[in-house]
């Protein structure tokens, strides 16, 4: 297994680790049995723009790096834009992932969608 430098950077110095106290969208996917849990926190403003995002992740290097990269990428986006966010966006930004680790990027994308859903639910 070989991680790119970008993956290693995002693993060793992940951006946006932790919880956002006043998050209004929180999504969590995965299970410890499968070896990965990702929890994404979003703070979305009145214009539907993601002002801040953060994560907590139980998982391998790729899971942590994917979380870090994904949260970093969606900050500043509208929830509409973020709704179109795909796992391949994370993979590309990380400069690639080993085949058996692609599912980590999928989890990250899913966690974001879950957080957006949560936001919609909270608003409704």
């Amino acid at each position: 297994m070989e991680y790119t430098d970008v993956v290693m950077e995002n693993f060793t110095c992940p951006k946006h680790v932790g919880e956002i106290e006043d998050a209004n969208g929180v999504g969590q996917v995965g299970s410890p049995a499968c070896g990965d849990i990702m929890k994404i926190f979003l703070k979305i403003n009145g214009d539907g723009v993601i002002e801040d995002a953060s994560f907590k992740t139980f998982g391998c290097g790729a899971a942590v790096a994917s979380s870090s990269m994904a949260t970093d990428m969606i900050i500043g986006k509208t929830i509409e834009e973020a709704g179109k966010f795909k796992n391949s966006d994370v993979v590309d930004a990380l400069g690639g992932l080993p085949a058996e680790k692609i599912h980590c990027s999928v989890l990250a994308a899913e966690a974001i969608q879950a957080a957006i859903e949560d936001y919609h639910k909270n608003k409704a």
Binding site: P32, A33, C34, I37, K56, T57, F58, E100
Partner: protein, 402 residues
């Protein structure tokens, strides 16, 4: 950066003395040992000398030692060879749930070919129960294969007692001693085993060379058919250089067994104490006493193994999570599941295995850093003691068993 290698159970560096022994066989003594001419005859003698060194290391007769291309091949040969040869007598095999994949996957393959396999469970320390074994034995049982020492959690099985039970019933007994050799005494006469697998790269010899001990008279089919090498039991031009190296490594391992084991045990205990005393919510896997002298295996709650490994690697420490040959796989270790750990916990395992050159300084460095790494990763984790999420999910490990 100085690197600290703590994955000796995965593989060991070749000892410089072993490399030196091996070198002339690539260029100078390269002859085919089966040949009539001078070049071949000298090489043949060196192979037989190595066979004797191996035999001495496990108290066997040299004519009972057959070189193979790996420990895995030795396991495959022992199990398939016995199964195929003795199927007229019965098609039932007994093994355990914590065997190396070379044993487990071979047994699973035989199941597809119509054999029946009983996988004995182990207790929370990784020991099989002799009563379970007695109860599992049937009239059509032709082979019992139980590993000597486990590669992940280091637990040492009661091979001698198993051997006695099995011998009484006239069943053939194989043990995978790949992890035992060089770490604890291995004596085929004392142990009542009929077949025993070993591998050079676990005892400071090269990769790609192993051996199978086959007690004289044990009926077994070949696994690799062809030329008359290895007294017609294992075909292929002899891997002379690595055979000679294996012999040397085995001799050194035997000579320094007590001293190496004492050294490793001391450092292992230092490591275990350091981790258990300083890191909360940690579990030592494997039997507390009946374990390999160099093996320490921990589970850290709420974090995942690979992220620990990567963090260690970055600061120069090489360890492992699960067994080396399954890393890259997403399933948690079958051994940790077998000792009863939920899959979520099994994912957070770290195996550190000590070698003859490891120092107390190394261990202290590792402990100091591990404390910080575990803390950092736990801070990043969405689960913790207060928020274990979904305990149901935590236990939903069923689909990972096989």
């Amino acid at each position: 950066m100085k690197r600290i290698y703590l994955d000796h159970a995965a593989t060991t560096p070749v000892d410089p003395a072993v490399v030196e022994t091996m070198l002339p066989f690539f260029t100078e003594y390269f002859g085919n040992p089966s040949s009539v001419y001078t070049e071949g005859r000298g090489v043949k003698k060196s192979i037989e000398a190595a066979r004797l060194q191996i035999a001495k290391a496990i108290n066997a007769d040299p004519r009972e030692i057959y070189f193979t291309g790996s420990g895995s091949e030795a396991d495959n040969w022992a199990i398939k060879g016995i199964a195929m040869k003795n199927q007229a007598k019965g098609k039932h095999i007994i093994t355990s749930t914590i065997e190396h994949h070379a044993v487990l996957h071979t047994c699973e393959y035989l199941e597809k070919q119509g054999f029946e396999v009983t996988y004995l469970p182990v207790d929370e320390d990784g020991l099989i129960s002799l009563d379970d074994l007695r109860n599992a034995i049937r009239k059509d049982t032709i082979l019992v294969t139980i590993m000597f020492a486990n590669n992940e959690i280091g637990t040492v099985e009661p091979i001698k007692e198993i051997g006695e039970i099995v011998k009484e019933k006239g069943i053939i007994f194989h043990t995978d001693a790949v992890q035992a050799l060089g770490n604890i005494p291995v004596d085929v006469k004392d142990l009542n085993v009929d077949l025993l697998s070993i591998s050079a790269h676990k005892i400071y010899g090269p990769k790609g060379i192993g051996a199978l001990f086959i007690r004289k008279g044990v009926p077994i089919d070949n696994l690799i058919h062809g030329g008359a090498q290895e007294r017609k039991k294992r075909a292929g031009t002899e891997n002379t250089a690595e055979i000679v190296a294996f012999g040397k490594a085995a001799e050194m391992a035997t000579e320094h067994l007590a001293e190496n084991a004492a050294h490793m045990k001391k450092l292992r205990d230092l490591l275990i104490k350091g981790v258990m005393d300083n890191i909360p919510q940690v579990r030592l896997n494997g039997h507390p006493e009946k374990r390999l002298p160099g093996n320490a295996n921990f589970c850290f709650d709420y974090i995942e193994g690979e992220s620990i490994l990567l963090s260690l690697d970055i600061i120069g420490i090489a360890g492992s999570s699960g067994s080396a040959c399954t890393s890259g796989s997403l399933d948690p270790s079958h051994v940790l599941l077998a000792i009863g750990l939920p899959a979520g916990v099994a994912h957070g395992s770290l195996r550190l295995t000590i070698g003859k050159h490891t120092t107390a300084e190394d261990i202290n460095y590792v402990v100091d850093n591990l404390i910080q790494i575990i803390e950092r990763l736990r801070k990043m984790s969405p689960i913790n003691a207060d928020c274990p999420i979904d305990d149901a999910v935590f236990d939903k490990a069923a689909h990972h068993h096989h």
